[in-house]
Amino acid sequence: MTGTALAEALGAAAAAGPLRYVITGGPSSGKDDLIEAILDAQIPCMEAEPGREIYRKHRARLGRHLRREDRHEYSLEVLDAFISEFTRHKHGIRFFNRGIPDGYGWDAFFGLGPTPQLEQANRIYRYDVVFVLDPLDRFEDADDVVWAQDREIRRVHELIVQGYYDAGYEPVFVPPNSAVERLDFICANLRLPKPSRGA
């Protein structure tokens, strides 16, 4: 639920130019829950990350897993989707479910250099604030992280973070808390009133 103060702040912002805020982080960072909390608070937000659907389409078209040579094509299509999302937003506040510089993390994870298109897009399309969600602590000891998947997911997260530094941002790290607490943290950081949640 949007509080009156928050609704007023969003209304005032809507009359002005665009403010674009990125929510990013590796898998298992609790991004989906936070996006849901943002939407619940009726703050404008990009709901679905375009990469998911594009990934599914690529898989379906290829009929196999993505190979090294397929990944640039995939990332360019994702880049187009992010640019389109970016340019469509003209007024007021909007949160973005990942952003253009996530492409640096994708490329780095697969040992690929950034494409000229990504470099150019990063120069042209700049977000106002980037929020990085650090991975949520799971109830396990660090020594239990034995599955390659878990280790790799941590690595993905760090490469995404590095991508934003490479892109010239200084991300704000959002502590691993509940989605509601994280949203309050973000609102405080942006000097926005906290969403009202009723009694």
Binding site: L66, R68, W106, G111, Q149, Q162
Partner: protein, 291 residues
């Protein structure tokens, strides 16, 4: 390319060098740019400025997430991040850090600063550990606890798919190894050719499958970490050296056959391949007998 991360003392020394001028680091700082986490983050790991840029990102991200809340702001100021101001020298940054931590500046420099640098060095080394790649070691397995959940995220899908591929690759390598061990056991027992040859055929099938899995893995996930398909296959054990065209024929026959029977049917007429694969196993047997 570094194979081993620097020692703790080297990292502490590197951080002390960084501290003199503060962030951003403008030139290569010895051991710090050798850290695996830095190399992995660099857009071009062979390029010193690229590694320096990666080091800046890593240090900023670690300082932004410094775990000791009491000293988080102080350590950031010490290294030149806000609340320190751009262009401040070490004396000014240290003074800002001491104020932030609520200490007298000499006490801060002597007692607190070394601990903060040690903590940051430990964070750098822990990060480097996360970037250790052990591709030539089969994944360590532990009893399953909770059901694993793959987040709905393209990165996570790719990571999960790679783990599938790695698991299948190692399954194929161990399957091949089992057959190669069986052959050498039969040879050691002085078994008849009629017992060894069927095992060698099975080993050929397993080799072809493992080889196809290794090639596919390299094509999909090759990250220049030195694990070529040949290196991966050699982990299974000794096999007869095959010229490239024969290796290709064997790999193709094995990867398109759903069973050993199908594989055998497809290679039965290939005398050149049969001789190249089976004879060396038998000649090993003869060598053993002649000892």
């Amino acid at each position: 390319m570094p194979k081993k991360s620097p020692a703790s003392q080297d990292v502490i020394y590197g951080l002390q060098q960084v501290l003199r001028r503060g962030l951003p680091v403008t030139s290569a700082t010895g051991s710090l740019t050798e850290l695996r986490g830095v190399v992995a983050r660099a857009v071009d790991p062979t390029d010193a400025p690229s590694r320096t840029s990666a080091l800046n990102g890593l240090l900023q991200s670690l300082l932004a997430r410094f775990k000791d809340a009491r000293y988080a702001e102080a350590v950031r100021a010490l290294f030149g991040l806000p609340p320190a101001l751009p262009g401040q020298n070490l004396t000014q940054r240290r003074s800002a850090a001491a104020v932030s931590a609520g200490h007298e500046v000499h006490h801060f420099r002597k007692r607190v600063e070394p601990r903060l640098i040690e903590q940051l060095a430990a964070d750098l080394l822990a990060d480097a550990d996360g970037f250790t790649r052990t591709k030539a070691i089969a994944p360590r397995l532990t009893p399953a606890g909770a059901r694993p959940r793959v987040p709905a995220d393209p990165f996570a899908w790719e990571v999960a798919e790679e783990e599938e591929a790695v698991s299948r690759l190692w399954a194929a390598i161990y399957g091949l190894r089992a057959e190669l061990v069986a052959i050498e056991r039969l040879v050691s027992l002085g078994s008849e050719e009629a017992q060894i040859v069927p095992r060698a055929v099975t080993a050929a099938w397993m080799w072809g499958r493992a080889s196809a899995a290794a090639v596919a893995h390299g094509q999909a996930y090759g990250r220049n970490d030195g694990q070529t398909p040949d290196v991966m296959l050699s982990l299974a054990g000794w096999t007869p050296p095959l010229p490239a065209p024969l290796a290709t024929r064997l790999r193709e026959a094995a990867s398109t056959a759903d069973s050993r029977r199908e594989f055998l049917a497809s290679v039965r007429g290939d005398v050149e391949l049969g001789n190249a694969w089976i004879r060396p196993f038998l000649s090993t047997a003869i060598d053993e007998e002649s000892r």
